[in-house]
Structures are given as structure tokens and as C-alpha cells.
């Protein structure tokens, strides 16, 4: 990105001053090096989002922002329904409520090292992953609607996990106001056999070790110590979310003229929050959030079963579950007054600061765990929400490394089997049905996640708590 187009407010805050049809400024949180690396399209997309009706304060980009469709990935924008605010399917993305959850195993690296190979084999056999895979659960129409309404709570009611898990999930495991009747039969059909599946692409299931603690008080509250082994699950709402995204992008694009919306870019397709299309999307999207929460809950159950067989002493308590593709109604202060805003986070993680009423008691004084996924060969991070994050980005932070290279280029540069072998030499066991998929996801195809996390920390969006490195990675 051309730095001369931006006003530098600090080492990690860059503004696109409002011009033309922009209603608010664009604000990019990143180091100079990360901003320079960002695609020029991020500038264009941040600017375009700033033109949408009812947007409040600014159109934000997180340190891992990259070119998305309509909104940048790593984009955050909040809209006020009382000021003509809109909801956008492109502002949430196709993989609705894609997210990360982290489980404590209660084991140390010394305990896990000897059983690593068996864990890798058993996890890859037990958790369906990859193109065409199906889950063991097949939902009829009644159960589908119950799942879409109940989320992880529905899964727990059916024996997948415990009530204690729900306390450690955003929305306590169940997104309110879901409307299964607004979810099409196509979307439901696409999901019928996909519950408890990981998917493909950048989704993964990893066994990781805690290698560094940056903040001992926060780490103690999160029960993380150096040498601890954790399990990370990264996936979303599977085919159901993809289909809802597909259908509502079109419905919003076609309805725009009717609502007098003239957007700079067709991908910005949106509808007034209170319009029939806007309300239908919100109801369907909330169902997809519940689908993602239920999906990660079922996978958690499968992981626990594997550990029960391999390491019966393991506990597998849930640390936290975050979603990074959502639109949620939240109370934020605008001009000194708390207002309900529709906050879009697309490739951005909610990061509530200390004292927020929605936090579980264990994190009340520390802030929300913010879980940042890495790649098979690098690191993941745990951060914590900050008090200043609320004012800076509506309580939002980054979500991952972001690609630095296209899939096509990666597949030409690496061979999947070589990547698997090289990672095994470094003690990281990869299990995937697709060598080409592994090549496309090679660690070298991603940006350095540490630079992203450091920028989020320095910008005050969230603070670093712990670094995690992979031991086992199951990919689709």
C-alpha cells in the first residue's frame, strides 16, 4: 500500500482521511512494514466500507488485513440502525462464524511427546476432514432447526460436551434470535451430513505446546504455563454458512436499488438493518453462527474421545471459543452515549476488555482470551482484550497470519509430501488426505504471524499472553 495516501497517527495507526463519499475515516492498525505489504485493494475496500450508510466512527482494518470481497478480510465496521445503518453479507463473509477454540489437555510436553504419533493418527481418523468428508451425525428437518436455534447448547444437550463448556463460548454457546425459517432448504441440505467435520483450506485441528508466556497474570487467569499442551480447533459453519453467504450476497445485490443503495462496489451488497432482506439475513446468519458453535462443540467431543483412549489422564477443559466472521449487536459508546450497534467483524476477533459484563467470571479482571491461528509450521498466539480496544476498534483484534502468496504459487513452489516430511523433521506431525492441500497451505505461503500479533499488541487492540507451537496438525 502506498504510505503517502495515509496520515500516520502513530507507529501502528494510519488513517485514510475522509474524502469523496466517505462518511467516516478509514483506520488501519499495523506496523509500517505490514502496511507497506498490504495490497492496494485493502485501501480501496476500507475506503468503500466507509461510504456505507449508518457507519459509526471509522472503517477499521486489523494488522492482518488483506483483500477480501467487499469488506477487507481483517475489516471491522459498526452500523447504527437508527441512523440508516446497514447489514452486509460480504461484511461477514462466506464462512460465517469461522473461529478458533482452545482446549487445555492438562498434560505437559514431556507427557505428550511419546504419544504424539498415536494422537496424530487417531485424531485424523476420528475427526472427518477434507473435501467430500461427512460426519457421523445426520440431521433430519426437526433436528436441523433445533441445531440452528440452539448452537453449542443443542450439542451439549445431545451429549457432546458439558454445560461447563458453554460458559467458555461467546454468547454462552447459543446465538439468540436465530431464524431457521430464513435458512434455505439448499443451505440445510448442504449441512445435513457435515456436522462435526473440519472442512478444508486453512481449517485445522492442532495439538500445540505453550512455548512462551508474555504476561504471567493473564496466563495464570487463562491457566496457561510453559510446557503445557493444548488443542486448537479452527473451523466454521461449513456448507450451511457458505450457502447462506452465497444466497444473501445475491439477494442484497438485487434488492439494493429498491432500498436506494448505490454502492461503489457490487461486492458491498448490503441492506438496511430493519428491511425485510436485512432482517432475514440476520436471522439466517445467527443460525449459521449456532451451526459453527455446534460444529466446534461436536469436534471437541471427538477430540476428547481420542484423548480418553490415548491419555486417560487428560482433562480437555475449554479455555475459550471465539468467532471471527460475524455481525453482532453490541452496546458501544458513541458521542458519550451507549448505543446498540451492528458490529461486522470479517476476519477479526472480538476482544472484550477487563470488566466487560459478557466475560466469564474467570476472565473478568483480565479481558477476553483472543485466539490467533497460525500455520502448520509456525506459531499461534493467545492474547487478551484490552480496556482501550473498545475505543480503538469496537473491541476487536486480528485473527491470523493472512496469506502472503496465492494457492497457485504455493502449489508450484512446494510439494505436499516434502512439506509433511520437513515438518516431521522439526517434530511437527501433519495428517491430511491431500498433499496438494498441504502444499497450498505450506507455512511459507503465509505472512509472519508474529509481526501481526506484535502490531495488535502495540496498537492496544489486545495484549500478548502466550505463544503456542504445533506438535500435531490435522488438515482437510
Amino acid at each position: 500500500m502506498d504510505l503517502t495516501l495515509l496520515s500516520r497517527k502513530s507507529d501502528t495507526e494510519w488513517w485514510i482521511e475522509p474524502h469523496g463519499p466517505m462518511r467516516v475515516p478509514g483506520v488501519i492498525y499495523a506496523s509500517e512494514a505490514l502496511v507497506r505489504e498490504m495490497d492496494a485493494k485493502v485501501y480501496e475496500q476500507v475506503q468503500n466500507v466507509a461510504t456505507l450508510r449508518g457507519i459509526q466512527k471509522a472503517s477499521y482494518a486489523m494488522p492482518d488485513a488483506h483483500w477480501g470481497y467487499g469488506f477487507p478480510i481483517g475489516g471491522v465496521a459498526a452500523f447504527d440502525p437508527e441512523r440508516g445503518g446497514v447489514v452486509s453479507a460480504g461484511g461477514v463473509g462466506f464462512d460465517i462464524s469461522c473461529g478458533v477454540r482452545l482446549l487445555h489437555t492438562g498434560l505437559t510436553i514431556a507427557q505428550v511427546e511419546p504419544m504424539k504419533k498415536r494422537l496424530a493418527d487417531d485424531l485424523s481418523r476420528s475427526v472427518p476432514a477434507g473435501v467430500g468428508s461427512v460426519g457421523r451425525l445426520h440431521l433430519d428437518a426437526v433436528e436441523m432447526d433445533a441445531m440452528l436455534t440452539g448452537g453449542a447448547r443443542w450439542a451439549v444437550d445431545r451429549g457432546y460436551g458439558t454445560a461447563a463448556d458453554l460458559e467458555r463460548i461467546e454468547e454462552r454457546g447459543c446465538m439468540a434470535d436465530a431464524r431457521p425459517d430464513e435458512v434455505s432448504e439448499h443451505a440445510k441440505k448442504r449441512q445435513r451430513d457435515e456436522m462435526g467435520t473440519l472442512g478444508s483450506g486453512n481449517h485445522y485441528l492442532e495439538v500445540q505446546q505453550v512455548t512462551t508466556i508474555f504476561d504471567s497474570a493473564a496466563a495464570a487467569a487463562f491457566r496457561l504455563r510453559e510446557g503445557d499442551v493444548v488443542v486448537s480447533i479452527h473451523c466454521g459453519s461449513r456448507g450451511l454458512g457458505h450457502q447462506i453467504g452465497t444466497e444473501f450476497l445475491k439477494r442484497m445485490a438485487l434488492a439494493a436499488a429498491e432500498y436506494g443503495i448505490d454502492f461503489a462496489d457490487r461486492e458491498l451488497a448490503c441492506a438496511p438493518i430493519s428491511s425485510p432482506v436485512g432482517e432475514a439475513y440476520l436471522g439466517a446468519m445467527r443460525g449459521a453462527i449456532n451451526c459453527a458453535l455446534a460444529n466446534r462443540q461436536i469436534i471437541t467431543h471427538l477430540v476428547r474421545r481420542v484423548f480418553a483412549g490415548v491419555a486417560p489422564e487428560a482433562t480437555l477443559d475449554l479455555l475459550y471459543d471465539v468467532s471471527h466472521n460475524t455481525c453482532k449487536v453490541e452496546s458501544h459508546r458513541i458521542d458519550g452515549r451507549a448505543r446498540p450497534l451492528f458490529v461486522h467483524r470479517k476476519g477479526a476477533t472480538r476482544a472484550l476488555g477487563p470488566g466487560h459484563p459478557d466475560l466469564p467470571p474467570a476472565f473478568a479482571s483480565i479481558g477476553q482470551p483472543v485466539l490467533i491461528g497460525g500455520t502448520m509450521g509456525t506459531a499461534s498466539y493467545v492474547l487478551a482484550g484490552t480496556a482501550e480496544g473498545e475505543a480503538r476498534s469496537f473491541g476487536s483484534s486480528c485473527h491470523g497470519a493472512g496469506r502472503s502468496m496465492s494457492r497457485h504459487a504455493a502449489a508450484r513452489l512446494w510439494h505436499g509430501r516434502d512439506v509433511v516430511r520437513q515438518l516431521a523433521d522439526r517434530g511437527i506431525l501433519v495428517r491430511s488426505p491431500s498433499p496438494r492441500g498441504v502444499a497450498e497451505e505450506a507455512p511459507g505461503a503465509y505472512k509472519e504471524v508474529t509481526a501481526v500479533v506484535d502490531a495488535a499488541d502495540r496498537a492496544g487492540l489486545s495484549k500478548k499472553v502466550a505463544r503456542l507451537e504445533p506438535l500435531v496438525c490435522v488438515k482437510g
Partner: protein, 143 residues
């Protein structure tokens, strides 16, 4: 002397996702080729055997929206039938498309599917007749 335009498909780079493009002497050819590019995101289309066919019909107010509908219909059929397609035929009439996709169930060992496609987007969306009298159909798909 006019040079015959070959029907071809290719991918183009787009950040986290992937661009698919079909080129051919007619609009139908371009739609068929871009569908092969869609398969190419997942696996080598030449490795997919045409053992079963699926019929698809869509209608949209513009060529570009029709392209997105065609690709999303294929994504849906791939996902719900757990199939891959290696050959396509397309007939276009005004705002309507009638297509056939030939393929087989996904075989992870043989197809080594790289990634599933979530949906076709409006990013870099183009359906155009170019100056040298061939057609191009393209967009970015989310993976």
C-alpha cells in the same frame, strides 16, 4: 487472417482466495471453461471420470450474475452430491442457462482434492467479448 481462439481455462491470484477464468470463441465456451477452472481449484479436471451427469438450469438478469449463479449451482451440486465434475456443456439463451456437468463421486486417494470451494463471489467478475473476438468469463471463488 483471423486466428482461431482456443478454449482454455486458468487461475489468477487473489490474496487468500483464487481467481478462475475461462476463455473461448463463444460465451458458452467461456462458461464451460470457467467451470473447468472451478474444478481445477479442487483437483485436476482430467482426472475426473465422467460416470454420471447432473443437469443445471439458471436464470439471471445479466451475464455476470448468470455466471455467478452457474458456478454456485456447481458448488452446491459438488457439495451435496460429494462429486467432482470433469466435463461441462452449456447452452445460453437470453438470460437463461442450461448446463450439464459430468463427473464422479470424490475419491480422496485418487483426486487428492486440495480444498473445497465455498462459493463464487462478485470479485473480479467479468463476462465480456474482447476485441480479438473471444469471450472471457471470470470471478474469484472463496475457498
Amino acid at each position: 487472417m483471423a486466428v482461431a481462439v482456443r478454449a482454455v481455462w486458468e487461475h489468477f491470484a487473489h490474496g487468500a482466495d483464487i481467481g478462475i477464468r475461462g476463455v473461448g470463441p463463444t460465451k458458452e465456451d467461456a462458461f464451460q471453461q470457467v467451470a473447468l477452472a472451478l474444478t481445477g481449484v479442487v483437483t485436476d479436471p482430467a482426472a475426473v471420470r465422467p460416470v454420471a451427469s447432473v443437469s443445471i438450469a439458471c436464470e439471471a438478469p445479466s451475464d455476470e450474475l448468470l455466471l455467478v449463479d452457474w458456478l454456485n449451482a456447481l458448488v452446491y451440486e459438488m457439495a451435496t452430491r460429494r462429486m467432482l465434475f470433469g466435463a461441462y456443456a452449456v447452452r445460453l439463451e437470453d438470460s437463461r442457462l442450461r448446463g450439464t456437468a459430468w463427473g464422479e463421486p470424490v475419491d480422496p486417494a485418487r483426486h487428492e482434492p486440495a480444498v473445497e470451494v465455498k462459493g463464487a463471489t462478485y470479485t473480479a467478475l467479468r463476462v465480456e467479448r474482447l476485441e480479438d473476438d473471444h469471450w472471457i468469463a471470470q470471478c474469484v471463488v472463496d475457498v
